[in-house]
Structures are given as structure tokens and as C-alpha cells.
Symmetry: C3
Subunit: 336 residues, 3 copies
């Protein structure tokens, strides 16, 4: 069970309630009481667990969990006595149940006396602003925002309601939507890397755009998003960005994209909706990546990709072709 | 036009004045008045735009910009009535004009009462020091420096005049020149990664050097530069470093280099002047990279490179050879 | 010699004393007095230097160092009059001697009045807490900890004695051992990148674990370690992590590992003891990497590796095989 120093659990819930929370089908006793969530190997008879990755099927067969969320096809492997919730999306169902046990509540509203807030800033009700946070001239915070310690919010930045800005983050020239979370150490809105190369001294091109971040976006720790050079840099609603990601000026990211740790996107590139870039992937500038494209880890993209592409390698190619190439080379070398 | 919450524009200027600012040839009405800069697609009759990348020639043909900066060879594609400034370096000319409309002025000098400044620090006149900044013992700031909120300047660090240190940056064991800009979250001068590997516990090698940063250098957000182990880590005048770049101890970078986001340079490597490393490139330690070398994105350098090299791949090879290899493999696989 | 603005040197020491400190054999005058450490090329007659990398043998032959630490096989190349300390591990011997000249003492204990410390925090004796540091509710600091300016220590975090937390670092949901050092800008304990992908909006999976960091660990500037999703993220005793490294949730790193700059490890992967990952390497999730495995720079690991593996490439293969493949391709292209 989660360390009580860091997490507060809600009351036990019965299986009928959990099925409703998860949108899952109940195959068990409606009044079976569940006290907590746990992984298959650590769960006890009072816990609910889940199976989503077939790699863990053996752990499921022997789990001591009192209840388990699974897909229909796994039901035959259930250990005796294990209550089942059947879902087409067991991981999502688990997520909803875990949220019910451990809701992500913000702490009570409070403005620290050790925060530095410009008197022209407009702070809506219900905000938390912690020690050392610096809120600049003309900043607007919507209701219920949470600004963590030592974060720096620059002049005239606007942040929508219920958004959260992590410790030591810095933001300038940016408009942020609602329910968005920026993790500690993010750098948002600084000048893009724009200059005319010149042997006598590179000449800076003023960066005159903004960063516009949608609703329910997550941006991971120490990631950087430069503001636009003239157009804006855009991050669409519901896009999730992991840690240490770099996003250049004028990049336009659609809705629901997933960008994994240490990936980078160069300036003026567009990602349509639901694009996934795995860890350490790189996309060159001035490209358009079609909707739903999936880019494997460490891949390098140097040209436009049509919707639904699945690519791998540096330079990237269709994933099947890349795997064939890897296998062919391996065979070739072993012969020589 | 740029968002007035974030940018302040200067007065309109006539074309003769702009030609002079840009060092460009005027092909139009000297008294044509320009109010702003804008991209080709968004410009109106009162704006000046530019064409530098042939990819955007079609946008030039149909632009509504009142004036445009182009190279001589593009003049024939100009839309009717568009005033022209002809330059051999249109992007640089645009940069200078945009700087005239949006000068990068620092705010008025002011030392925040919420900054923490050691009484032994020497602060020249005209500095801006913002809330939460920590200025350590013996620090020397030249005239007109700007220290943003929550930046930390360690003991005895020296910063030349008109330099700017971003929010939440931290600097120790470092001497910085004039007109240099460190972006938010940079980490400069911490110990290099130096230790003797030992199964009983790695043994730290004291890192006894400094970081010496020249004039007019830019170091992007969340980039890290370790101090030297004995020699210093050196960053030459006019070098531009993008976000999330890692530079190891004893690295010696010349003048006018360009190091793009997420690239890394291992310890004790020398980059001569005007080297370019594209995004996510890596250079191993103890190497010398010749003047003007260009390293493509995601490349991995494992040996010295002569001046003027153009390389790609991991391990890197001359770019033409790499492209031939990629093409050859593609053909080979398609046959098998 | 090291810049006295940044470093304080101890008294001169004679060679007998230094041999004892280094566990080396003395081949010279026991009472020969040494004043400082220096590199082979910069050393004077009052300095001690070392030779560890055969690449620098020529510098050794002509060094003016008064004394030098070398392996037995190099003794024949010593310049006349150079006092010798013979060691099987010259670099470690140098490290110990350099530590004696430049001990890594913490400054005198002092709690800054400009730090923000929750009244429920338990601060053992001898701590240094600098300006702008934020120490949350219920935090426990062991004896002699050093919290640098503007670091943020979240609710109920525990830090063992003599550990040091760098400027602008942020830590939450974490337990840290003794003598451990976190560099400036590290991000430890934030939520892992866990969510169920859903076109209607990705669903966050509560991250309910912690980060547990052992004794004598080093974690470099701007590196990120996410907390576990249910299990904990674990960093074993004596592991050294460089700058800009990303470590995902539930990762389990053993003792004495070395993870070089900009490398990344995806969620739920286990590294056994003494694994080395070179710069920009990536390891996929849910893998086990055997003890003592060495992963070359920019490599990509997509499957489990047995103990003692030495791999290179993306996808990675045994290093010899990779080098053969690179050489074979080069030859093939030159023929075609």
C-alpha cells in the first residue's frame, strides 16, 4: 500500500461501486469490499489489481488480489475466488479506480506570505501560491491554480483555472488553458534559437510570438518549449509531454499527442492530432507529421509523414522495412 | 502583429531608413512607410516581410506585404506593387530591421528588495536584480547586468556588463564576458563527472577548474556546462548554444560555434571556431573537431575531424558517403 | 594551480605522506615536498601529476612535474629527476591525493533567515540551509546536510546525513541516504509518465510509489527521476548519474552503476550492479540488464542483456559484431 507519508487513501469501496467508476462489467460479488489498489504480485485479498500487458499473465494466474480488472479473454486464467471486473480497456479502468482511491486533490487555497506577487497581478479565488514563487506584472491566474515553490511566472502570462505549475518552473510570453500541469523545472516561452549566421557575429532575430498551451496538457520535468518567432508555438488540448523534451519555435502540436522523454522537435514543424514520438526521437524542422503517426524511440525524421505512419530508424523508414534491414544486415555479417 | 501584452513596437519607419539599417539596396519608394514586420503569409500592406528559404517562394509570389527583403534572384517573382529591399543576406537584413522595430531593451535598473545579495558582492550601476535571486559572497556584476528571478550566482562568480542570467539558473566557479545571455534553468560550473571507477565505491576526482564564457554568447534553457577538472571549460565569443545541451569538463569551444538542442560534447574535446553540431548530435571525449565542421543531427563522432568536415551518422562519416549507404541499403533490402 | 577565488588548498605534503594517502609505492625521496596537483603539461617542479591514459605518454616523457603517479610499466619513460609513486590504479591514487589537497568540506553550519522552513520539519544539527530554499511540512534532514539556494524539498521527504542538494533542485516523494549529492536543477519524485491512452483524453494513472536513493549516490545537473507508479523507483548505493539523464518510474538501478549524460532509462527496467550506460544511450522499458553490462554511447537497448554484455548500436548488438557491420558496410559502399 502507498506510503501514508505521501498519499492519502479514501474509504473502502465495494465492487459494484468500482464497476460503475470504471465502466466495467461486474463478474463477482457486488458487495465485495476493496480497500486499495496494488500490483498483481503485491496485492492481498483486500486489494484490486489489473492485467493489461500479456507479459504479466503468469503473475495474474497466481495473484492473491481479491479482485482484478481484466479483458474478457483473460477470464479463464483467473485464480479461484478472484472477483473480476471485465473491461475492453483494463488499464483505463484501473486508472479510474486508482483515481477514486487516491484523488489528485490540490491542497487548500493559500497564498504564502513568502511569495513575491506583483500588485498588478490578478489572482482568482481558490489559488495556492507557495513560498518563493514570483508572479510578475499583469499575470492572470484563473480559479484554483496551484503555483509551487520558486516557480517564476513572467509579465502578462495567463493561466487558466485549475492548472498547476511545478516547483522552479519558469514561464514567459505564454497563455495556458485549464486543468493543465507543468512539472518542475519546465522552461516555457523563452526566445527560440533564431539568428542569422554571420562570421562577424550571429545576428539575433527577435522572437515575437508566444506559446499557447491548451487544456488538460501535461508537460514533464525540465522540458523546454520556445516561443514562436512570429507565429506562436502551439500545444493542443490533451497532449502529454514527458521529461527533458525540447520543442522549438513555431512548432504546432495537435490534440492528444504523446511525446516521450528526451525527444526533440525542431522549429516550424507541425504534428497533427494523436501523434506519438517515443523516447529520444527527433523530428527536423519545417515538416508535417500526419495524424496518428507513431515514431519509434531514437528515430530521426527528415521528411513529411502521411497520417498513420509507423516509422523507425535514423533516418526513419516504415517500421517493417527497418526491421527487415536490421535482420538482413545481421545475416549478411554473420556470413562474412 | 506581435501581442502587445508581451512586445513593445517602436515608431513606423520609411523604406530608406530600413534599407540603411539593413545594409540593403532600396528598390522602391524611399518614403514608403512601414509599421511592422510580419511573415509572408500574414503580412499586410503596412508590413515588411522577407524571403530567405526557396521553400517559401510561392508565399512570396502572393504576399500582401507592402515591402519585402529578398535576394536579387528573387526580384522577378515579386508581386506587383511590393517595395523591395535587395540583400545578399535577406535573413540577416530582416533580423536587423526586426531588431529596430522591437529592440531588446532591458527594463529600468532596479534591485528588488526580495533578492538575497551578500554584502560583499560588487554590483556595478544600472543592474536589474529580481525577486528571489541569490547573489553570493564576492560576486562581481558589471554595469547593466540583468539577473532574473530565483537565479543563483555562486561565490566569487564574475559577470561582464550587459549580460543577462535567466530565471532559476544557477552558476558557480565561472567567469562570464559581456553581452552574454544565459537562459532560464542553465546549470553552469558544477563539478564535472570525474571519478575513478572502483567496485568498492567510485572515488571522486576533485574538479579544480572553472568555466570561462566569452562575450556575446547565448546558452539555451536547461543546458549544462560542467567546470574543468584542472584546466578550464571554455566557451568562445559569439558561440550560440541551444536548449538541453550538455557540455562536459575541460571542453574547449571556439568562436561563433552553433550547438543545437540536446546535443552533447564529452569531456576534454576541442571544437575549433564556427563548428556546427545539429540537434541530438554527440561528440566523444578527447577529440579535436576542425574549424567550420558541420555535424548532422543525431550523429555520433568518435574520432578527430579535419577543418571543413561535413559528417552524418552514428558512427559519423562524410555526409555524401552516409547518404549513399542509406540509399544502397534501401535498394538492397527491396531486392531481398 | 587552482583559482583561489574558488578553491582552498591545504598545506604542502611530502611524498611519503602522499604515498600513504594514495596506497602507492614510493620510488623517490620520502621528504620531497609537494605543494599542489597539476596536469602533466602544466605541472611545475613543486606539483604532483599522474599518467593513466596511454594517449598522454608523450606528455609524461616531457613533464616538468616534480612527482608523478604512474603504473609500473610506465616507469621507464619517466623524465630524469621526476619522483615516482607507483600504483596499479594511478587515477584513483591521484583522486585521493587531490582530495587531500582540496578536501570537499561543507561550509560552516548555518540556517539562512531567507530560507522558508516549515515549522514541522526536523532539522538535525550541523545543517546548512541557504537563502530561498523551501523545506516543506514534515521534512527530515539528517546531521550536516547542505541545502543550496532555492532548492525545494517537498512534504515528508527524508534526507540522510551529510547529503547535499543543489541550487534550484526539487524533490518530492523521496527518501535519500547518506553522503549523497544531488546537483543543481535535478527533478526527483515527480509523477511518472503513466496514463491510459484514450482519444477522448488520456486518463492519468495515479503514481503511488516513491523514489528511494541509496548512500553515496551522485545525480547530475538537470537530471530527472520519476517516482514509482506503485512499486518504488530505486537508485542503489554508490551509483553515479551524470547531467540531463532521464529515469522513468519503477526503474530499479543497482549499486555502483555509471550513467552518462543524456542517457535515458524507460519505466520498470532493472539495471543490476555496475552497469555502465554511455552518453545518449537509451534502454527501453520492462527489461533486465545484467551485472557489469557496458552500453556504448547512443546505443538503443530493446531486449534483456545477460551479465557482462558489451553492446553498441541502435538496435544494440555485441560491440564486436557492430564494429564488423560498420566496417563491412563501409567496404560494400566503396565498391558500389
Amino acid at each position: 500500500m502507498a506510503d501514508q507519508r505521501f498519499y492519502t487513501k479514501t474509504e473502502p469501496k465495494n465492487l459494484e461501486e468500482l464497476a460503475s467508476i470504471a465502466g466495467a462489467d461486474l463478474h463477482g460479488k457486488p458487495d465485495f469490499e476493496v480497500e486499495d489498489v496494488a500490483s498483481l504480485d503485491l496485492a492481498t485479498g483486500k486489494d484490486i489489481s489489473f492485467l493489461d500487458n500479456a507479459k504479466y499473465k503468469d503473475a495474474f494466474k497466481t495473484t492473491k488480489a481479491g479482485a482484478c480488472i481484466i479483458s474478457y479473454s483473460m477470464a479463464e486464467f483467473a485464480p479461484q475466488g478472484c472477483q473480476l471486473l471485465i473491461s475492453k480497456t483494463p488499464y483505463k479502468a484501473y486508472a479510474l479506480i486508482a483515481q477514486a482511491f487516491y484523488p489528485a486533490n490540490f491542497p487548500p487555497a493559500k497564498i504564502s506570505e513568502a511569495a513575491h506577487i506583483d500588485k498588478s497581478a490578478v489572482i482568482a479565488k481558490g489559488c495556492i501560491i507557495e513560498a518563493g514563487a514570483v508572479i510578475g506584472e499583469g499575470v492572470k491566474l484563473g480559479e484554483g491554480c496551484w503555483i509551487e515553490p520558486n516557480a517564476v511566472i513572467g509579465k502578462n502570462v495567463e493561466i487558466g483555472k485549475n492548472s498547476r505549475i511545478g516547483a522552479n518552473a519558469s514561464i514567459s510570453h505564454t497563455i495556458i488553458g485549464e486543468g493543465t500541469r507543468l512539472y518542475p523545472g519546465v522552461r516555457i516561452g523563452q526566445d527560440g534559437f533564431g539568428f542569422a549566421i554571420d562570421l562577424a557575429g550571429h545576428v539575433k532575430v527577435p522572437q515575437l510570438g508566444r506559446v499557447i498551451i491548451g487544456d488538460h496538457v501535461e508537460i514533464g520535468a525540465n522540458s523546454c518549449i520556445d516561443r514562436g518567432a512570429g507565429p506562436d508555438t502551439l500545444i493542443g488540448d490533451g497532449t502529454w509531454i514527458d521529461n527533458c523534451v525540447q520543442i522549438g519555435h513555431n512548432v504546432n502540436i495537435g490534440r492528444g499527442c504523446v511525446i516521450v522523454a528526451q525527444a526533440g522537435i525542431a522549429g516550424s514543424t507541425t504534428l497533427k492530432d494523436y501523434v506519438v514520438i517515443a523516447a529520444q526521437g527527433g523530428v527536423a524542422g519545417h515538416l508535417t507529421i500526419g495524424q496518428g503517426t507513431q515514431i519509434a524511440a531514437q528515430s530521426g525524421i527528415m521528411q513529411d509523414l502521411p497520417a498513420g505512419s509507423k516509422v523507425m530508424g535514423s533516418p526513419a523508414m516504415p517500421i517493417k522495412q527497418h526491421l527487415r534491414q536490421v535482420a538482413y544486415l545481421k545475416k549478411l555479417i554473420s556470413r562474412n
